[in-house]
Amino acid sequence: MKKLFIVLGIIMIASIAFLYQGMNAKEQSKKTDVVLPATTLSASKLSELKNDYPSKNDQHKKLGFDCVTCHGDFKDPKEVLPLENKQCLTCHGDYKKVAERTSFLDKNEVNPHDGFHHKDELDCASCHREHKPSVNYCANCHDTKVWMKATP
């Protein structure tokens, strides 16, 4: 039964992704009436969790994604792992597409999605975080503010 819910949830994500692929970013960010996939968490538990794990990503927050959208179903937040690239890319296409969105940084070889040393091998969550302020992995060794905006 639980598995079925997950699969159901995933189908929902897939349809969001499908919608998303047909539009450009600007149009998409206006779209807020997304159908949420199902979860086995009780409503009270869910709202408690939403307080504990608020979204810091303006766009995601607007879209009001539920935990299950990104993490799949779970009982205890302790089981939850940071997202893998493929989970972000369900909606965001592929790494190449993401890199194109920041291709104005290519000529300097500092595109965070296709940079000099790391190319497309970094995990999204090494920079983009959902519940804590985002960071920039490059900033471990570079003054990134000279190159680009803060990580959304």
Binding site: E79, Y137, N140
Partner: protein, 513 residues
């Protein structure tokens, strides 16, 4: 729903299923157990995916072994991936084409000249002797050398350069993926916590998969990070520790020499001492831990064109002095000012005088590592504002410096003003940066034989089944590792450990049913 979506669905469901078993507790204590049941068994495990580990793993896989490489970080490649990876090599095609005569003995001698007699000369010679083989190892596996250089401290030109670490590590990893996929597995976010011994022989590792390095509190990652799922992985032939140095470990550096706490580093954020401490807890001998190598974002010889002042606006050192003296003086000065780094200022003439214009450019573009960025200002007031100086204090410092230059003698610090070629602090625009020496290499580490076997300090003998290579080892270089000599070290002991671990007699290990 199309096929692709189905595949994705499967993958995500699988992740969710894996989560539910993550809470199963570990079943044995690593040390005491003599009959461990492993979750997985390989012939050989290599710890670390940098140059040393990658070399060792490819070598062992090419000998026909089933090899696992693990790395605790979020990306493979370690410090090696972002390093310059200039490679001192005897007998390269580049040397031959230019008719340069060189021998391993000469290179080893150059290495020993700056060692201050620390370390083991036999290990340096072993490194130099392996360079030709390593050169061809790299070339045959897709690495292309773009430049040939004469570097400081080397009695002949012998450094080859592929364009940086990415141009060495990425081709090697691609080579492994394309040609050794059936035998060689590379796994990131897999942290090694301990070694499993059976009857005195190392036969496996206790690891944590899905390990998330704690970038918010990196200094305490080794001690406090509890992420990941415990697994036991067996190694029938042996284990190679190519776990890198500890440049970022301010606690250990600070314990060895107080002022080293003030260094910066661009090494892998995971370059810490936890792995070495674990090896020491089993008796591995660590040597030369208090040695270090300082470097600046810009070459030492280009510091001279500028003025260096502390947060009070006072000069404190001869900018034209030698690398280590300037470095140590800056570190002491930082300590006095609660870790606040001094400021280096050039005028346009000073900037024009740079020997290494490419470095200058890299610095202007923020491509020169942590706090290696130089900023450009039209007036001294702007400099003061940006770096938080009282403009009058900065102006006074500049006036005094210019006056000293005019007088031709540096009364305070004895800088040789006759070499300045017009550089002063007069001609706008001005260029300024904070200057802190970086720790880019730790010569200390676990002691090995020239066969790359790890040595047990309690018995003086080698550990059965344990090898080490690369910056994780100590005693190869001594006090001041010669420029471009870590690559040959990683290469030599990567190859040797790969050969020797392959030659071990396999033990039988039990799999968990």
């Amino acid at each position: 729903m199309d096929r692709r979506t189905f595949i994705k669905t499967g993958a995500i469901t699988a992740t969710a299923a894996a989560l539910s078993v993550s809470s199963i507790a570990p079943f044995v204590d690593a040390e005491e157990n003599t009959d461990t049941e492993f979750d997985e068994v390989f012939d050989i495990i290599v710890v670390g995916s940098g140059l040393a580990g990658t070399t060792s793993a490819i070598t062992a896989a090419e000998h026909g072994n089933k090899v696992l490489v693990v790395d605790k970080m979020n990306i493979l490649g370690g410090t090696s991936l972002i390093s310059g990876l200039n490679f001192s090599c005897v007998g390269s095609d580049e040397q031959k084409a230019r008719g340069i005569k060189d021998t391993p003995e000469l290179m080893a001698e150059d290495m020993r000249k700056v060692s201050e007699d620390y370390g083991d000369p036999e290990l340096s010679l072993t490194v130099a002797r392996m360079t030709t083989r390593f050169y061809h190892f790299l070339k045959d596996r897709g690495v292309v050398f773009k430049e040939f250089k004469q570097l400081g401290g080397h009695s002949v030109a012998r450094a080859v350069w592929a364009g940086g670490g990415a141009f060495v590590i990425r081709p090697l990893h691609a080579y492994a993926r394309e040609n050794l996929a059936d035998r060689l597995t590379m796994r990131k976010r897999c942290k090694v916590d301990d070694i499993v011994f059976e009857n005195g022989r190392a036969v496996g590792l206790k690891v944590r998969e899905n390990y998330y390095f704690d970038f918010d509190d990196p200094q305490n990652d080794d001690k406090k990070n509890k992420t990941g799922t415990v697994k036991y992985i067996g190694a029938k032939k042996g284990i190679v520790f190519a776990s890198g140095g500890y440049c970022r470990d301010k606690k250990l550096l600070g314990a060895e020499a107080d002022i080293l706490e003030e260094t910066n580093s661009d090494a892998n954020p995971g370059a810490r001492s936890g792995t070495m401490q674990m090896l020491m807890s089993h008796g591995a001998q660590a040597v030369n831990l208090s040695l270090f190598r300082l470097a600046y974002p810009i070459p030492t010889e280009d510091l001279m064109w500028g003025m260096l002042i502390n947060p009070d606006g006072k000069r404190f050192v001869n900018e034209f002095g030698n690398r280590n003296t300037i470095g140590m003086t800056i570190l002491k000065e930082k300590k006095k000012f609660d870790g606040k780094a001094p400021l280096l200022i050039y005028d346009q003439t000073g900037a024009d005088n740079f020997h290494d214009k490419q470095r200058f450019q890299l610095s202007m573009e923020a491509k020169n590592g942590y706090e290696g960025t130089m900023y450009k200002f039209q007036t001294l007031k702007e400099v003061a504002k940006y770096f938080g100086y009282d403009p009058r204090v900065l102006q006074k410092a500049v006036d005094e410096y210019n006056a000293a230059l005019d007088s031709g003698v540096d009364q305070e610090f004895g800088k040789d003003f006759s070499q300045m070629n017009g550089a002063a602090l007069r001609k706008a625009p001005f260029y300024a940066m904070r200057l802190t020496p970086k720790c880019t290499y730790t010569p200390g580490g676990v002691r090995i034989t020239k066969e790359a076997q790890m040595i047990n300090s309690a018995t003086g003998e080698t550990f059965e089944g344990l090898f080490a290579a690369g910056e994780a080892t100590g005693g190869v270089h001594g006090a001041m590792r010669l420029t471009a000599c870590s690559v040959p070290d990683c290469g030599a002991f990567g190859l040797i450990s790969g050969d020797n671990v392959s030659a071990m007699k396999p033990v039988k290990l039990k799999m968990k049913s």
